[in-house]
Amino acid sequence: MTGGPAGVAQPSRVSCESAGADGWGDDVPLGETAEALHLDLSDLVPDQVNPLFLTRLAACRHQCSRHGMPLRCTAEAPALGRGESLIPVMHVTDAEMIDRVVQDLSTDFESPDTKVTAAIVNPLLIAISELGENATTHGASENGAWVAARHERGWCSVTVGDLGMGIPRHISKRVPELDDDGVAIKRAVEQGASGAGKQRGVGYGGLIKDLTCPEIDHARLRVWSGAGRFTVAFQAGEAVHSQVEAVPVATAGTWVSVDLSSSYPPTA
């Protein structure tokens, strides 16, 4: 939110940086409570808007509507880049909807024009089913979840986000001394991957196993929850980079983005 005269709400301007391939969509505010917003979407380039940004935008609309707060947009929200959407932004509220998304994606992804292979689509299905089902059936989020996926020249990106409790608060129930949100997310992801967590072999564990399979050349998992972010990148089945970040403005819920490709990093 930009500053302004006291008592006068100024528009919250959305920048293209937050919407691009490496953006976190952090220009779209998703706080614990909704507030009146004026989003300027006129600078967005539809072909370069990532699913993370668009799902957060949809959740922001939902949050404002649910709390009776006005949300005004200067321009229409762009759709996922022209004809390259695997899944448009969808608000899924129960497991049956998640299953329908998975079935549609599994039958629709192959076409002569795409380089999307079964090896690539499998992690997408895992991400949507595991993360989406958690958000809609375990009481993690009474608002359901938002899902979107796109492909472009052999790379795919999928986002599953919700407005639930979030990973850090969930972890703090078991480990109250852990007060760094980014570290809490890293621990949750790594416990899933190592099988040390309660739900061995599912959730992040199943997802990371698929991201490190030999058929995937490059992959990246990004998780934003609370005031922390965790990124881990894989190349040829090995983790080549990971980063924990603290962010000044916390997000409500948990936002997970998976990018994978045979020619990473994706070029717009």
Partner: protein
């Protein structure tokens, strides 16, 4: 009796789908055929196959898994190890 998974689709990914298929299954399969299955998640494998195989193991019966290949095979094998059914599976496959 044989259960052909492909009769119900090619991608199996949610616990919801697993529970729905289990509820609709009115027999105890002796063979589960994976031919034509393109994708199977850990959650589905645990909720559907795990419960069928656990039930069979508890009753001393065998279930053969056929045409199980690639990533789906890895997923099912991991689920069997997690449930402690890998020894049972070896016996079943023999």
């Amino acid at each position: 009796m044989e259960l052909k998974l492909a009769d119900s689709g090619t991608a199996f990914a949610t616990r919801f789908r697993a529970r729905r298929m289990l509820a609709a299954l009115d027999y105890e399969p002796e063979v589960i055929d994976f031919e034509g299955v393109r994708s199977i998640s850990h959650s589905f494998a645990d909720e559907f196959l795990g419960k069928i195989l656990q039930r069979a193991a508890d009753r001393g019966r065998s279930v053969a898994l056929i045409n199980l290949e690639g990533k789906a095979s890895e997923t099912v094998e991991e689920m069997l190890r997690y449930r402690g059914l890998d020894d049972v599976q070896t016996r079943l496959a023999a």
